[in-house]
Amino acid sequence: MKTTATRLKEQGAEITRATDREPAIETKLAAEVKQLLASGQRVLAAERFEAIVDREQRRASRIAYHYLRDPAEVDEVVQDAFVKAFLHLPSFREDLFFELWFTRILVNACLDRLKARKRLARWLAPSDPREGVVAEGPPSLDPSPEDALLAKERRALVEVAIDQLPARQRTAVILSYLEGRPAREAGIIMGLNESTVRVHLFRAMRKLRGFLKRESWATRSRVGTAEREA
């Protein structure tokens, strides 16, 4: 079984081979932090690392949220990912891209969390789906409650559709479509070929379209039935 450090080193090598763009500012900061750690200036290194956190935190939270959909879990995963990155920074190579290296750590953490959630779900009784419908907080201040409701339903549909995708297609969609990364970078993070990522993306899109079409048809037919009954 490979250690985390070995795995991260291997990932770093892949990233070097596959990318040809200029290193971003996060990468330069990471190199600086690494030097500080090597010289034993841990306090200063932590302070400089916080600059990376400031730049990456929101993006990391967004990625984790697309996977987990639970803000509390997102908090934990993002914190853990930053701490892990800081601890393993001595094994980071200066000529690599920090954001890809870090995103890979984060995505793996999210997938691990999802697996753990599945394992846990086997031992827990399913909760009532109507639970929490009432306790959603104060009423919306949107001008049209109907529009808000429709938007909410559409968002929920998209979330459910993404959640139903297989892990690889889901990761490809999150990284490429939602985070706007090119297929090459998504491939580096996922450890896949660029073309394979595109194929995953296309298949995912086909599934999503099919699901959304089916669900919207079902919703329309439900509304139609309700109107007829009324």
Binding site: R42, V43, E50, A151, V158, I162, R203, M205
Partner: protein, 245 residues
């Protein structure tokens, strides 16, 4: 002829440049995500209605995904939560480098006391204590047994003999009479009196099954252990003192 040649040439040209075949999933996705694509792919999209339609569908779906996913995240992940998370990350980093002590752990009331150290010597004590408790247990058991009611002598039919019956000796005076103590029934015959029978009468009495009484017989022959204690308390016919004179 010239028209035919022109058409054939155009078809061959399209086949050569690859614009005749439809776009693959890979190519469509590359275009939909705005990545750099080959010129011939774009040229094909201008000519092919089917591929253009697929591209529009894919682009619409991507737009919808981006819009809804972003809105969902913005709603769930507020600025306050973001700031709180940032503070926690800072605290964890500070704990890692030692500038901040980790969260205070409240101890249980007795957690400060050191646990007693178990040594080889304390192991001896355990063995000694076990042996002592064993000896005390066995002695107490013996003592209790000693103070319990003394065992009663067992008669020939296996039933304990009562004390009164044991102390009264059987007398044989060879006078031709047999003296039997009367069992008091509280009405006509008080307990402690004797009755005299001739040997013939005694023989007849012994030969009469009614003499033994159904209850006595039943008790002596009964296999139920529940009646054992009752049986032990009552005198038996066979244990009655017999005076033959």
């Amino acid at each position: 002829m010239t028209e035919l040649m022109r058409t054939t040439s155009a078809t061959l040209s399209r086949l050569w440049t690859g614009s005749a075949r439809h776009l693959t999933d890979d190519e469509l996705t590359a275009v939909a995500t705005g990545e750099t694509v080959a010129q011939r792919t774009l040229a094909h999209l201008d000519q092919c209605q089917r591929c253009a339609s697929s591209l529009v569908h894919a682009a619409d779906a991507i737009d919808l995904l981006q819009e809804e996913a972003s809105a969902s995240f913005d709603k769930a992940y507020t600025t306050e939560r973001h700031q709180a998370q940032r503070r926690r990350i800072g605290r964890r980093l500070a704990t890692l480098v030692g500038t901040e002590s980790p969260g205070k752990v409240i101890h249980f009331p007795f957690s400060g006391r050191p646990l007693p150290q178990l040594s080889a010597r304390s192991g001896h004590w355990i063995a000694v204590a076990s042996a002592a408790s064993l000896v005390i247990g066995v002695s107490a058991g013996q003592l209790l047994h000693f103070h319990a009611a003394p065992a009663k002598p067992i008669s020939s039919d296996g039933v304990a003999v009562t004390e009164s019956a044991q102390t009264v000796p059987l007398t044989f005076d060879m006078t031709g009479t047999v003296k039997l103590p009367l069992l008091g029934d509280g009405l006509q015959h008080p307990a402690g009196e004797w009755s005299s029978l001739t040997l013939e009468e005694f023989d007849e009495l012994m030969g009469n099954p009614a003499f033994f009484g159904n209850d006595d017989l039943a008790l002596t022959n009964f296999l139920m252990s529940e009646f054992g204690s009752i049986d032990a308390l009552t005198p038996h016919v066979s244990d009655l003192p017999v005076n033959i004179q």
